[in-house]
Each structure stands twice: as structure tokens, then as C-alpha cells.
Assembly symmetry: C2
Homo-oligomer: 393 residues x 2
């Protein structure tokens, strides 16, 4: 088999191997960023699928438009409008999860050798999606307010060129950090000054535990420079594989052509049943329930980390989302510790941080997810790991 050159960049990812570790029922895994399945609205969805197939089977099981079901695009557009951006349904493309948006935007924009700007660290799935298009990465430092916009400016002023900047501004994966309003305003301004596109990936946006929502980059942009990705995975269920892109219509038209080429369309049935669920149920109540549960899990995990981990281990205190980001003392290797001690001795898994750095990164970080495990498992897992760490550090 003579593979294309791009396949050199397509390799199994550490996180995927780790999810396999987590499948061992004796291991408590804080690795996967899975939603808590007890929060899935199973009764409502069961009824929605039943009635969709029974009443509209011939439509629901047939081919439909590549751009996605019109009613569902209207519902997404209404949510986007409610979140601060006037949005026509023709500016919405329904995707096979937001992940597909990463693939299609990469395909649309990246020529081999182009530089993509990312946060440092950044979402691994974005790197996995972009890699086949053979970009180079320039990773920009973050702090508690998100990406360092001065560093973005300096990159361009120093002669750097990049087609787009990829960011997860709300409760970032993996750090849990949220970009401040001032940084967002500055970033949108910089995009205009230096002529680049912002790819705003915000699957966790509705999973906010406290404080008011900060305007999306999409809503701050007046220049058509933001492509925004959202998802039903965290507020409804990931098994439906439904997300969306919002962008100026000419961009959506291009992405729709790529969607058609890639997989024709999303499942008509999933789109129709989801649309029906949204019409028949109060999704805001569902989101409020998710927020309450995850807020409680975050509080529990942070309390347990404070109580059981050595003080030399720092961690972020996210205002939403699924993750906290741990920083161990310099030189501590979280991957080695996990393989040699955490998994065999404490029966606990997480994601070592090095995997989230687009280029070489430090080995002393880890991503802990608090969304999937039960309260009991969070307590037991953090306590066991803390006891082990106190012996080691």
C-alpha cells in the first residue's frame, strides 16, 4: 500500500489508548471527556424517535439536504441569536459533531506547510483533524484569561503568517480556562489587523457553572472572520453525532460542498428526532440540570484535590465544562507516573498533559475530567492517587 504523504502525520493518539485503559472496570478513569450518561434524556428521546419514525418514516429514513434539516438549522440559528449573534438558518451547517467542523475547516483552509495558530496546550482532536492537511503549528501561551493576545500580535508583527487561529474560548479542553472579554475583543481586532480567521470551537459553552456568559468571538466580530462550532454532544447526547458550524453564508456554502463530498449528509433520522425533541421539550431545563450536576462534580473533585493531593500540585478552577488541568512540580513525568504507578498501584487513569501540546511541551501536566465518574468514584480515585503522590512527591 503506497500511502499519501499526509499519512505520516496520522498516528494513534495517546488519549485513544488511554480510553482503552479506562475500559478496565477496576480502573477509575478521569481520562475520557465523556458526558455523564445518567443525564441523557432517554425517555424524551425514545418518544421522539418512536414518533418520528412512525409518523414521518418515509422522510426520516430517506436522503435529505447536505446542509442539514431546515427546521434544525432554524433551531440552532435561534439559539445562536439568543447568544448574541443575529443568525440566518442559511448561515448554519449541521455537522457530524463539532469534530467534523474541525476536519472540514482544515480541509477548506490549510495548504501543506501553512501555519495554524493554537492555544498552548490545545484540544487534541483539533490537531488530529488538522494533521492530514499538513500544517505547521505555532502555539501561543495561555494564562488564566486565555490566550496571550500580545503574543498573537507579536507573532504577526514579527513577520509570522497564519491563515487561522484555533481557540476553545469557553472552559477550554484541556485546561478549563475561559478567555476574558478583553482578550476576546483584542483577538477579534487582531484578526482584522493581521487578516486571519478565528475558528471558535465552543462545545462546552452552555455548561457554565457560575457567572454570566462572556460574548462569543462570533458575536464580537463584524468582519465575517469567525467560524463558530457548537455541539449537541454535551447538552443532549454525543451518540447522536450532531453539531453545527455558523459562519458567513459563502463560507457555509463551501463547507456544505465539503460535507457533501465527505459523507453526503448527517443522519436524517437523527436530525429530525433531535429537532422534534427540541420542539417538544425544554432544553434549557435540561441544560440547567447538566450544569447543576457537573457543578457539583467539579466542586467535589476540587475539594478532594485540595484535601488529598500534595500542595506542590496545582490545578485550575474552571467555571464550566468538564475538565481541570493539573500542574505537577517541574520535571515530574505524568505519563511515566501513570503507567508505572497510578494505574497499577492506585487503579486510577487520567490524560498526561504532553499530548495536548502541538509542538514539544512539558511533561508535568495532566487533564482530569470530572464529568463521567460518580461522586463515589471521584472521591475514591482522587484519594487513592493523592495517597500515592504524597509518598512520591
Amino acid at each position: 500500500m503506497h500511502y499519501a504523504a499526509r499519512m505520516k502525520l496520522v498516528k494513534p493518539s495517546a488519549i485513544r489508548e488511554l480510553l482503552k485503559l479506562g475500559e478496565d472496570p477496576s480502573i477509575i478513569s478521569f481520562g475520557g471527556g465523556y458526558p455523564d450518561p445518567s443525564l441523557f434524556p432517554t425517555d424524551g428521546l425514545a418518544e421522539s424517535y418512536r414518533s418520528t419514525i412512525t409518523e414521518h418514516g418515509r422522510t426520516a429514513l430517506q436522503y435529505s439536504a447536505s446542509s442539514g434539516l431546515r427546521r434544525l438549522r432554524e433551531q440552532v440559528a435561534a439559539r445562536v441569536a439568543n447568544d448574541g449573534t443575529a443568525c440566518d438558518p442559511d448561515q448554519v451547517l449541521i455537522l457530524q459533531g463539532a469534530q467534523q467542523g474541525l476536519d472540514l475547516v482544515g480541509k477548506m483552509l490549510i495548504d501543506s506547510g501553512d501555519t495554524v495558530l493554537t492555544e498552548n496546550p490545545t484540544f487534541l482532536g483539533a490537531l488530529v483533524a488538522f494533521n492530514p492537511y499538513q500544517p505547521r503549528y505555532h502555539a501561543i501561551a495561555m494564562d488564566g484569561d486565555g490566550i496571550d493576545t500580545d503574543a498573537v500580535d507579536a507573532f504577526f508583527r514579527g513577520g509570522g503568517r497564519a491563515k487561522f487561529l484555533y481557540t476553545v474560548p469557553d472552559f477550554q479542553n484541556p485546561t478549563g480556562v475561559t478567555m476574558s472579554l478583553a482578550r476576546r475583543q483584542r483577538l477579534v481586532e487582531l484578526a482584522r489587523t493581521h487578516d486571519f480567521i478565528i475558528l471558535e470551537d465552543s462545545p462546552y459553552r452552555d455548561v457554565r457553572f457560575q457567572g454570566p456568559a462572556i460574548p462569543t468571538l462570533l458575536s464580537l466580530d463584524t468582519d465575517g472572520r469567525v467560524i463558530h462550532l457548537g455541539s449537541f454532544s454535551k447538552i443532549l447526547a454525543p451518540g447522536l453525532r450532531l453539531g453545527w458550524a455558523v459562519a458567513p453564508q459563502p463560507v457555509i456554502d463551501k463547507l456544505t460542498l465539503l460535507k457533501l463530498a465527505a459523507d453526503t449528509q448527517c443522519s436524517t433520522l437523527n436530525m429530525l428526532a433531535t429537532s422534534r425533541f427540541l420542539d417538544a421539550h425544554d432544553i434549557e431545563a435540561q441544560i440547567a440540570r447538566i450544569r447543576d450536576i457537573y457543578r457539583g462534580k467539579r466542586d467535589l473533585m476540587l475539594a478532594m484535590l485540595r484535601a488529598h493531593f500534595p500542595q506542590s500540585v496545582e490545578f485550575t478552577e474552571p467555571n464550566g465544562g468538564l475538565f481541570t488541568w493539573l500542574t505537577f512540580p517541574a520535571g515530574f513525568d505524568t505519563a511515566q507516573f501513570m503507567a508505572e504507578q497510578a494505574v497499577p498501584l492506585a487503579k486510577v487513569a487520567y490524560v498526561p498533559g504532553a499530548t495536548f501540546f502541538p509542538t514539544d511541551g512539558p511533561c508535568n501536566h495532566a487533564r482530569f475530567s470530572f464529568s463521567t465518574q460518580s461522586d463515589e468514584a471521584i472521591e475514591a480515585g482522587v484519594a487513592r492517587l493523592g495517597a500515592l503522590l504524597r509518598k512520591t512527591l
Copy 2:
């Protein structure tokens, strides 16, 4: 927006615009290759979705493996084994329809400028999927026995190079032609001699009206050179968006990494409900029903073409699938005729043939689908078009 160079090859396709024409309810469209929706097993699927969500909601709505649900891969492997090829479930990747296989195989194999061999004409969706990877096409002539294997041999003996050959051997889209056994054997032999891969796309394979099935290229290959694509779209329902690839495991592993990058996975719910449907129902009986109905529609369309079209218009007599391919007198422009006469005067649409030729092709062909329209519409549409043609030709 500074698009990647590959976007020059990403354009709206004629067939997509035509499907829009067909949406006008006053037009009888033989354009779209849609299954007859009255054949969808709606009751069985409604029950399958209801029980899947009710009994296994937490699993069905959650993330699952990128390679696809294990049980569904077993079921596909069993069908492939039944069709002449020993197949392990690890040699199966579940796809978002066979279309996704075209995208992922293109991504895996095509470097910019590589030559892809195709039949002439060929499936438009394959060209649409391959185009973003910037191949060149070398299209090989066909006759009633399928692709001209001597011409394939001559291409390579003349110094041509190509990584893979794309074929739809069973009831080809658009021509309805089936590749003979002798040609299949020769093609597999040539693949070994000249070191190329065969991409066998066979979504219509089970929709055979008469005669025994001819062995798949996959089953004839002993050298790991065939990637086979199949689909539930024609035997169950396209709205589920489920298809599969079968290939040697190292190739499936690469495709699985690309699937993960492209959209994480297929809908867990759709995979689980489809698997359950296959366990609970007799899919062979469903396929027999589809064959009977489409055979009747083929017979009707061919009889109507014989009765109403001028003798100067020739057409194929497919042994299966959804399509017949019409050849009008040399110089007759089927696209112009459709726009200026067939649609406005006869209220009938089809797909002009030029769109199916990878490089320049003649304008005197058309693809007629007999699968979607009712018997009454087939009768009325062909009669109206025939009357118009008799005035013109």
C-alpha cells in the same frame, strides 16, 4: 477568506442542482438515485429504536469506538463471509455511508497530482470525494462487460502510474452495467502485476434482479489489494447513514484513524438500533422485497422506453441496481434538452450524462433512475418525454 488550493476543485455539482429541480412537485424526476421510501421497514426500525433507547439508552447515546460497534462489525463480517470472503470483524470499519469511504480512501492514498483510474463514465460522488485531494483522472472505457481491462493493462504498459483504480462493478452508477467474472479476474491479476489498489464500491450489490451473483473483486483477491465498500442505504435506509469498508486490517487501522479525525465515530444509536434490527428481523426477506419491487420498476421503465422513445435512443438493460443509461444520437445535448424542453414542456427531469465523465465526455447520454418514482409516474414521465423526443429527433 484565503481558501486552500484544493478548493478550486470543490464546486457545486450538476446533480445536486438537479435534485433541487426534482423537488418541484409538478416535475417527475428520474434524476435522484433515491430508494423507494415505501420499502423502508418503518415498523421494525421504530421498534428497534424504541427498545434500544429504552433498554440501553446510556450506552446508545454515549460515545463509542471509532471503528464502529463490535456487534455490527460482526454482522457485516458475516454477510461478507456469506458473499465469498472470509472476514474478521477487525477487517470491517463502519462508515457514515459508503460515501465516507470514498473520502477516507482518497485521503489515505491520493497525493496531489496522483493519477486515479476510473471507469468512464463513473460515479459522480466518487469524483466529488476525491477532488479535494487533487488527483488527475485517467478514465478507462467500458462496454457491456464493464471496464476494458486491456485498456487498464495498456495504460500501465505504456508507462502510466496510478495508485488505485475505482470501480462500481455491480449495476454501476450511472450505466447499470455489471463487470463480468472474466474481467474481474483479469483486473485483480493486473492489480498484482502493476502494483495498484482496487477500490470496489458496491452499494447496489444486493439489489440483483436476475442471475447468480458474480464474485466480488474482494473475494478474488489473494494479495490484500482490494478495499471494498458497502452500504445499508439501499437495503435498509439511507437516512441512517451507515456503510462499511472491508480491507486488510492494517488498512482498516489507517482508515479508522482518519475516521476518528474526520468525525470521531458514527452515531452509536444508529449503529446499535441497526444491529438490533438485523438480529430481530430477516434482512434477506427485506432484500427480496426490494429486488421484486425494483425489478418490476426496471421492467416497466424499459418497456415504456421501448414503447415511447424514438429507436435512435439506446439504453442499457441492468440486471440490478437503480439506473439505466441512455445514449442519444451523437451530438444531441441532453443537458440543453432538459433545461429547454424536458423540464418546461414535459415536466420531466433526469441527469444529463456529461457530469459522470471524469474528464471531458460526450453530451448525448442521460442517467434515468427507476427506483424512486411510482409506477404511474414512470409511465407518465417516460410517455411525455417520448412524445417530446419524437418531435425533436
